[in-house]
């Protein structure tokens, strides 16, 4: 690695501040009483409490998945986590105007427009602070179109039939260790329902913020696009810089009915820990979409720059005939970060198509693994998949791994997988420098070029943010 890259200084994690706000937390620990307490605090109906308890019982019987993922971390004490923490000033159903100035300040500092009059606001935002939603913008405007966009708790109260119908329909309560844990203790999240034939006029967005120490964040997102509906959803996340590891175990379920399209974009920038790997978020997330109807489409785009450990496989079950699944990913592992991420494309319907583009960047002592599965079931005639996973290594203390599983049980399908490894070439830097760019910009340009296929899938504001973020994440990545 060139000395010019080495000389770049490490910039601080700019979202690492803590908001000093009084919070209402339950004591650490997990048992049935804690689950009952969470359910009671949220005023939930009986069926949901039952559902949580069933998930908890399933979870007790499960083992933490240590064996297969290419990540290492000390054992997590699940009895030492606070499963519910909410800012004291949040009232249920509180309107945005009554928002605690401290919270508003926090989101302003993070650059998230909660104020509907703001210039940048072309995006409706649901803001999640620790365990609860603190406000949702543009609700009325969306309501006129019949679109439901609200916090999960509100959805349980206002639209229980919809929630009950779809909750757990894509990620069942016994799906995996972290998903079951989430099902038992999830506190809030976002709910979206787009009715038949409606094209959602603006991007919907959730911003997740972990603030309180010692807590875990367990949010649940459910997006349902009814027949012919389209929606684009964005997700962002940050957390304070702390010496302890905090657990984030979310579940996201997407349901696309006939002819519907859901586009889900994530820019994940949880605190990644310091250079020596102290602190940071454990991001153990289950994300899955179901193309339930014919000609439906689900597209995942993710830019994963943060978290000490990322364990995340946004997947698509291609059930409807002619349905389409997409996965575009950029994952960065710098410092001591570990990322084990990828996707699953399960082809069930006829002529289902999927595309996977994964870009992994490893620097410092980071380890980046692509783990993906393409499964073509016997009835998925003429299914088609194209997978490309490229790795970029910066220095020789980092690692890049690819674990693609291809399982084909139908002869009329076509599955292609390609993977390559590259580095930032001295000659590329030299060329850009002689065109008048400084080293920093040259590297940034090369890295952005490497990730271009994924960035072009992001909505505009996110793409700009993602490019900046990538620059920051890679600074100081000596090799």
């Amino acid at each position: 690695m060139s000395s010019s890259v080495e000389s770049l200084v490490n910039r601080e994690y700019k979202h690492g501040f803590v908001t000093d706000i009084e919070s209402d937390s339950v004591p650490p620990g997990l048992n049935e009483d804690v689950i009952r307490l969470i359910s009671e605090k949220k005023g939930e109906p009986e069926w949901l409490l039952e559902w949580r308890l069933r998930a908890y019982k399933a979870w007790l019987k499960m083992e933490e998945p240590h064996a297969w993922a290419n990540i290492t971390y000390p054992p997590i004490d699940y009895q030492d986590i606070v499963y519910y923490s909410a800012p004291k000033t949040v009232k249920p159903l509180g309107s945005l105007d009554e928002l605690d100035p401290k919270l508003r300040e926090t989101y302003d500092k993070l650059g998230i427009p909660l104020n509907e009059q703001k210039l940048l606001a072309g995006v409706a935002v649901d803001a999640i602070f620790d365990s609860v939603s603190v406000g949702t913008s543009y609700k009325e405007h969306l309501g006129e179109l019949g679109i439901i966009f609200c916090s999960f708790s509100e959805a349980v109260r206002e639209h229980p039939a919809l929630v009950q119908k779809y909750l757990g329909s894509v990620v069942p309560i016994s799906d995996n260790f972290y998903a079951s844990l989430n099902s038992a203790v999830f506190t809030d999240g976002s709910f979206v329902y787009v009715p038949k034939g409606v094209h959602c006029p603006m991007d919907l967005s959730t911003y997740f913020r972990i603030n309180q120490a010692g807590t875990g964040q367990f949010e649940r997102t459910l997006i349902v696009a009814d027949e012919g509906a389209t929606v684009s959803y964005l997700e962002g996340c940050t957390a304070p810089a702390r010496d302890e590891n905090q657990l984030h175990a979310a579940v996201v379920e997407l349901v696309a009915l006939e002819g519907a399209t859901i586009k889900y974009s994530t820019v994940q920038n949880w605190y990644a820990g310091d250079e020596e790997g102290v602190g940071g978020i454990y991001n153990f997330v289950t994300k899955r979409g179901k193309c339930a109807g014919a000609r439906s489409k689900i597209s995942w785009t993710q830019v994963e720059t943060g978290s000490a450990i990322t364990w995340k496989y946004p997947s698509v079950i291609l059930q409807g005939d002619d349905s389409v699944g997409e996965f575009y990913s950029v994952a960065v592992a710098n410092g001591r970060q570990q990322a084990d991420t990828g996707t699953k494309m399960i082809h069930l319907g006829r002529r289902t198509r999927s595309t996977i583009i994964s870009k992994g960047i490893s620097a410092g002592r980071g380890n980046n693994s692509y783990r993906g599965q393409v499964k073509v079931m016997p009835k998925a005639e003429r299914a088609w998949n194209y997978t490309q996973c490229d790795s970029m290594l910066i220095g020789n203390r980092c690692g890049a791994h690819t674990f693609p599983y291809i399982d084909v049980q139908n002869r009329s399908s076509a599955v292609e997988h390609e993977a390559s490894t590259t580095k930032i070439g001295e000659d590329q830097i030299f060329y850009l420098k002689q065109r008048g760019l400084n080293t920093e910009n040259a590297i940034s340009m090369i890295v952005n070029g490497f990730c271009k296929e994924v960035f072009k899938e992001l909505p505009m504001e996110f793409a700009v943010e993602a490019q900046k973020l990538l620059g920051v994440s890679l600074e100081g990545s000596v090799g």
């Binding site: 290594l393 890049a400 690819t402 674990f403 599983y405 292609e416 997988h417």
Partner: protein, 435 residues
């Protein structure tokens, strides 16, 4: 079930076994007993159901009731009759069927059991030395039962003019019998060797179990062309493990063909343990009926400036299953690595299935590593083209299937071997006339 293997081990004759070999065998047994048979819970065996094999009480194979003749072997030997050959029947060396006259001075081609008696000091430095922690429980079991197999040594600077045939025959009456051939191939500095290693079942229905290990060590600037052909009976179980250790500027070229066996598995691991070494791995699997054909390859790029090139193909028909796992490890030290891996599978029926997993693990930044995998049916376009030239659809399918196989068959470097293999593949695919 695994206890029966301890009983077999305890009953092994110890005459003629050098003192140093006993702990080696014991370690093998201990490792196997500790690990047991792999199950689908083991990542390495996830897609390879061993089924009845682990429940069958195989007994060590004895001599066949009717002796195996030269004529029986004729279809399974490659090249000219005067090529050197080592033949093993049911695991035991058959000197009367072998041909070891006229070997150049210093070249040894004999049975391992004999070499252990005549030249133990040549065998000891290599036997079992390079099989690492990555060896399968089956390889450990083989080590426990080290007794006979092929031993070939080409001393420094020697080149063998003609390839050596190693033929391992399972007789038609070997139902329920097991063999554990152990082969050691030593190619010293600057030496050159071409080897054709064949596993053959004479009966169609003998449910035998062959568990073989071949260790290869390549000296500096040595060269080995290694062709491995597995044509066991379609009721048999075949588990093979080949380990190659390469040092500076050595060249290893492998062609591995699997078409026999009810369940077959071949692990090929090669360690590029010095700069400027090269490994070329080619493979072809052909499955039909209820066969399961599994190939696992691992290439360890331990040192800088090494090159590996891998192409594995599979043609699967009927209810057959194919498994492929190709690993490439690049250590932090192994800068300037150039590794390319390709895996292609052709599914000829709606009930055939393949599980493929190309896997790269890279810890160095200045490397060129790629892999590609495809699964599918024959392309419509070439098929349409052939039909437009007046060729019947079934015939067009045959031609294209053969072409798919021929692409990798072309990589067999020894001419007579390539021609004969070509016939074998044609027969199997039902294309007897010239295309």
């Amino acid at each position: 079930m695994i206890d029966q293997y301890r009983a077999v081990f305890d009953a092994l004759p110890t005459d003629g076994v050098p003192e140093w070999l006993r702990p080696v065998r014991q370690t093998g047994l201990d490792r196997f007993m500790a690990a047991g048979f792999p199950t689908s819970r083991d990542e390495e065996w996830r897609f390879t159901p061993l089924g009845d094999m682990t429940r069958t009480p195989f007994a060590p194979a004895g001599p066949p009731r009717a002796p195996v003749s030269q004529a029986d072997l004729e279809p399974y030997r490659f090249g000219h009759p005067e090529w050197p050959a080592l033949v093993f029947v049911n695991g035991a060396f058959a000197p009367e069927l072998s041909q070891t006259a006229d070997l150049p001075e210093g070249v040894m081609a004999t049975s391992l059991a004999r070499a252990l008696m005549t030249d133990p000091e040549l065998v000891e430095p290599h036997l079992g030395k390079h099989l690492g922690a990555d060896a399968t429980p089956f390889a450990a079991l083989n080590t426990a039962f080290i007794r006979d197999g092929a031993y070939v040594r080409v001393p420094a600077g020697r080149t063998l003019a003609s390839p050596i045939n190693l033929v391992f025959v399972t007789s038609a009456d070997a139902d329920g019998a097991m063999t554990h051939p152990r082969n050691l191939i030593v190619v010293e500095d600057g030496a050159r060797l071409s080897l054709v290693e064949s596993y053959v079942g004479l009966g169609e229905s003998a449910a035998s179990f062959t568990n073989t290990v071949t260790e290869v060590t390549l000296g500096q600037q040595s060269w080995l062309e290694h062709t491995r052909i597995q044509r066991e009976s379609e009721a048999a179980y075949h588990i093979g493990f080949s380990h190659v250790h390469q040092v500076r500027e050595s060249h290893y070229r492998s062609f591995s063909m699997s078409m026999g066996g009810r369940v077959s598995r071949h692990n090929l691991h090669t360690r590029l343990d010095a700069p400027n070494t090269e490994a070329l791995l080619y493979g072809l699997s052909i499955g039909h009926g209820e066969q399961l054909v599994d190939n696992h390859t691992t290439i360890y790029h331990d040192k800088p400036n090494c090159r590996s090139w891998e192409v594995y193909k599979a043609i699967l028909d009927d209810h057959s299953r194919g498994v492929f796992n190709g690993k490439v490890f690049v250590t932090p030290e192994a800068q300037q690595t150039d590794a390319k891996q390709t895996n292609r599978t052709l599914l000829l029926s709606d009930t055939a299935r393949v599980d493929t997993k190309p896997q790269l693990e890279i810890f160095a930044d200045d490397v060129k590593c790629t892999h590609g995998a495809t699964v599918g049916y024959l392309d419509d376009l070439p098929h349409f083209y052939l039909r437009s030239r007046g060729i019947e659809p079934e015939r067009a399918t045959q031609i294209l299937t053969y072409a798919f196989a021929a692409e990798v068959m072309d990589e067999v470097a020894v001419d007579p071997v390539r021609h004969e293999l070509d016939q074998v593949v044609r027969t199997r695919l039902g294309i007897m006339d010239r295309i």
